[in-house]
Structures are given as structure tokens and as C-alpha cells.
């Protein structure tokens, strides 16, 4: 399903609060109220969708490409422990 680009959580919440104020104020027309309600529901859905991310995306920056973009690889805690320990035999970098 094509989704609109997710707006920042904070922005979504701020917009939502504005809609709530307008609706609770009761000063806007019924048509506007309905439109805002729909917008509010869409915003809430987006917020919930962002919250529903179950798995955190964790990467490790390994360097930069020639273009200057970051090179990221999946970060695996235990695996990297082994690797780094093997590499740094002299100094104990662990804290």
C-alpha cells in the first residue's frame, strides 16, 4: 500500500493537538470538523504505526563510501565482541 511519507512523530502529535483544540472549541463548521477528524485519525494511525516497530534497527558505521555516504552494517553485539577482541590483543579496550 503506498503510504504518504511518515511525518515526524513530534509534528504529528502537534498537529493532532491542534485538531483536538479546534474540535473541542466547537467554533469550526461541521464540514471542517469532519475533515479534521479524518486527518486526526490518519495522524493517529501514523503515530501508532511508528510505535508498532517491534525490532529496533541497529547498525554499525564501518566507514564512508567514495560519495561520502555512510557505510552501515548490521550490528551484532556478541559477534563484534569476538571480532574486536581478536583484533585488539594488546590493549584492553573493554569498559
Amino acid at each position: 500500500m503506498p503510504e504518504e511519507p511518515p511525518i515526524p512523530f513530534e509534528t504529528a502529535l502537534a498537529q493532532l493537538d491542534k485538531i483536538l483544540r479546534d474540535l473541542e472549541d466547537g467554533s469550526i463548521t461541521l464540514d471542517e470538523s469532519l475533515a479534521r477528524y479524518e486527518r486526526g485519525v490518519a495522524l493517529l494511525r501514523q503515530c501508532y504505526a511508528q510505535l508498532k516497530v517491534a525490532e529496533q534497527k541497529i547498525t554499525q558505521l564501518t566507514g564512508l563510501t567514495i560519495d561520502g555516504d555512510p557505510e552501515l552494517k548490521a550490528f551484532e553485539h556478541t559477534a563484534s565482541v569476538e571480532k574486536v577482541k581478536a583484533r585488539r590483543t594488546k590493549t584492553n579496550e573493554d569498559d
Binding site: D17, L34, C47, L51, Q56, I58, T59, D69, E93, D94
Partner: protein, 405 residues
């Protein structure tokens, strides 16, 4: 003239001799005293004097040696200086060529830290006004720390519990040892640059490590780290797990966390709290709209309830009635006027009637005329024998005049 048995030196010979003697006796000495007249020449050499209550000693501290200084020497400081005492023939004076200098009293490292703090403070690095607020709902966080330490494990653990929505980028660095300051500073700089170039947009950078002894935290006291944190394009949280010592990174950072775990707690909202807030807003939204609908319905009902909508012909009838009343009034006015006109007409007619000659005749008067129609008003106008015609109310009499007087 000197006596003939006396040895006479040229100046150069003599100073050369003095230099040799001094170099032999004072190749490596420690002198304690107060720094005075401390001057840093543009060449990088330092020139100053050491003094105590009674004496003064000239000193030169060349660039190659003074680069290793761990603190910033200033006039008035008590120091230990080590070097060789020698003669400087060109100026004809003996001086101490300093190779090493240490502050008296506190250790060089402590003094250096104190001095660095003063310097950075003066540069405004610790100004509370420039501290940025942390994002409320971070989307991407960079962790500059050892990828193998307890710190990163703790932080990831809390991130998973509190705010899995955030993407985490780990920038692996050494957090202790000679290269640590440069690595940490380079990491903060690189991340800033990536953020500014919009190649890796970040909401915050956490710089930290787990707890250690004061010495272990030295990397976070380095000026290069302070500079990088100060210039960072995104808010920086320092998370140097050491509650008693405040590192320079702590002072420069936008937020100082006592531990790496606390850094994440400060940076990320609790997802369950956020969910509760969202649920609250969901019900408020629904309630607000329902309320709005009820309000509109009520208004509609009130409008529909008005007499005009309830009995729409009432208004027409009202108008009709008003029209009737007006018509009646008009009729009355017209009638009255008509009546008055009739009366006036009758009066005029009566007056006219009274003036009519026939009316006079009817009361017994008569009108007499000659045959040619001339009305007779005087008897002399006729002769006996003339014919006259008398007009009565009804009919005419023709007569002949017998006598006129």
C-alpha cells in the same frame, strides 16, 4: 699591565672555559622557584626567570622541550624545573636550559585539567544558554562508544524497552588509551558532517562509556573532544559513567547523563506512556467529533422547532389578515370621503335650487315680458293696448294693457 706570571684570557677563551666548567658540574639539575616574566616567543621558545626571596635565575625553555608541557606555565606559579645550567657567550650570561617543568603543589595533570576548564569556560563552551534541548521522539541516534563494552549493551537494552522506533547507529571508538580522544573527536565530527550533508540525519549523539577510574576518563577531558562536542551539529549527550568526576565532555555536552543507561532514559520516551497518550487522544478525538455532531443536531432541532418551520402557512395567513385590515381601512376612508362629497353636492344643489327663477314663481311671483321677450320692470315701458306675456309657475297668460301708471 697584569703581572707577567698571570694568565690572560681572551673573552672567548674565558667564556668557553666557564661554559665547560658549568656543563660538567650542572649537566642535570632540579631547581624549584617562582616563575617570573614568563614570555612565549613567536619562535615557540619560552624565556623566563625563576626566583625566590633573594635570587633570580634566567631560564630558556626551547620549543622541542616545552611542547611536552602538560600545563600552561604562567608568571607567579611555583614550579620544579629540570635542565642543564650553562653559559650563553653571546649575551655573556649563565642560564638554565630547561628540559622539563612540573608545577609544584598539584600534579601536572590536575593543573592541566583545571587550566583547560578555565580556557574552555572563557571560550563559552560551558554556557548553559547554548545547550540544546533533546528531541522528544528521536528517530535516529548515534552511539559513539566502544562496540564491545557494557555501556553499549546497557544502552541497547533500554532502547529496546523504551523506544524501539528509533534507529541506532553505533560509531565504534576506543574510549581509553592514547588514541581515544582523537577517535572520539573524529567520530563526533564525522557524524556531524554526515548529518549536515543529510546523508545520515541524526536527532542526537550519545558519547560515552561505562564507569571507570578517574584516569580512565581522561579521553573525555581532552580538548579535541571538547571542540568536537562544542561544534556538533546535533545535540550531544555525554554518558561517562562516573558520578563523582565531571569530565569536560560532560560540561560541554548539551545534556550530561550520569550513566549510559540514564542517557537513553533521558533521550527516549517510554513507548507505553506514549501509547497511553495516543489512546487518550484517540478518545478525545472521537468524543470531540461526537460532541460536535450532537451540537449540530441540537441546533438543527431548535431551528426545525421554530413556528415558521412548524406551520409554514401561518406567516401567509398573517399577511393576508394584515392585507384585509388595510383593505377595510381603505374602504372606510373612501366611503367616508364619498359620503362627504355627496353631502356637499346636495348642499350646492339646494343653493342652486333656491336661486332658480322657477322656484320664485312657485311661491306666487310671476314674470312679465313684452312679446319680444324684454322683461318688464317698469310700468312706463308699456302703453295701453300693448300685448304682454306673463309667465307663471305653471303656464303663461297673454294679456292686453288697459292702463299703465
Amino acid at each position: 699591565m697584569p703581572p707577567t706570571n698571570a694568565t690572560v684570557w681572551t673573552v672567548s677563551q674565558f667564556t668557553e672555559q666557564v661554559k665547560t666548567v658549568l656543563d660538567e658540574c650542572f649537566a642535570n639539575v632540579w631547581v624549584v622557584g617562582e616563575l617570573t616574566d614568563y614570555k612565549k616567543h613567536v619562535s615557540g621558545h619560552h624565556y623566563f626567570s625563576l626566583k625566590d626571596a633573594n635570587s633570580v635565575l634566567s631560564c630558556a625553555f626551547f620549543r622541542g622541550s616545552n611542547l611536552r608541557l602538560k600545563f600552561d606555565p604562567k608568571t607567579g606559579m611555583e614550579v620544579f624545573a629540570r635542565g642543564r645550567f650553562s653559559f650563553y657567550p653571546q649575551q655573556g650570561k649563565a642560564q638554565l636550559y630547561v628540559e622539563e617543568m612540573q608545577p609544584k603543589g598539584e600534579g601536572a595533570a590536575d593543573l592541566a585539567l583545571k587550566q583547560l576548564k578555565e580556557k574552555l569556560h572563557a571560550k563559552g563552551y560551558f554556557d548553559p544558554a547554548r545547550k540544546r534541548t533533546l528531541p522528544r521522539f528521536p528517530r535516529r541516534i548515534a552511539l559513539v562508544t566502544s562496540p564491545t563494552g557494557a555501556a553499549v549493551r546497557d544502552m541497547l537494552q533500554i532502547l529496546a524497552n523504551r523506544w524501539p522506533a528509533a534507529e541506532v547507529v553505533i560509531y565504534p571508538v576506543r574510549v581509553q588509551g592514547e588514541s581515544a580522544p582523537a577517535e572520539i573527536a573524529a567520530a563526533v565530527r564525522a557524524l556531524s558532517k554526515l548529518h549536515e550533508a543529510k546523508r545520515l540525519v541524526l536527532d542526537a549523539i550519545v558519547v560515552g562509556r561505562g564507569g571507570g577510574s578517574a584516569e580512565d576518563l581522561s579521553a573525555f577531558n581532552a580538548e579535541t573532544v571538547a571542540d568536537a562536542v562544542f561544534l556538533a551539529a546535533v545535540p550531544v549527550i555525554s554518558a561517562v559513567g562516573h558520578e563523582t568526576d565531571v569530565s569536560i565532555a560532560d560540561l560541554v555536552a548539551d545534556y550530561r547523563a550520569l550513566t549510559p543507561s540514564q542517557a537513553i532514559t533521558a533521550l527516549c520516551p517510554d513507548r507505553f506512556e506514549v501509547e497511553r497518550d495516543l489512546a487518550d487522544r484517540t478518545s478525545r478525538l472521537r468524543f470531540a467529533l461526537t460532541n460536535r455532531l450532537v451540537m449540530s443536531r441540537d441546533r438543527l432541532d431548535r431551528i426545525a422547532d421554530r413556528a415558521a418551520f412548524r406551520r409554514p402557512l401561518d406567516r401567509v395567513h398573517e399577511h393576508a389578515q394584515a392585507l384585509d385590515a388595510i383593505a377595510e381601512r381603505i374602504e372606510k376612508v373612501v366611503c367616508r370621503r364619498l359620503e362627504r362629497s355627496t353631502q356637499q353636492l346636495a348642499a350646492v344643489a339646494a343653493r342652486l335650487e333656491s336661486l332658480s327663477p322657477l322656484n320664485v314663481l312657485s311661491r306666487g311671483y310671476s314674470l312679465t315680458r313684452t312679446p319680444d321677450g324684454t322683461v318688464l320692470r317698469d310700468a312706463v315701458a308699456v302703453q295701453p293696448g300693448d300685448r304682454i306675456v306673463t309667465r307663471l309657475a305653471t303656464g303663461e297668460i297673454t294679456s292686453t294693457v288697459n292702463e299703465a301708471q
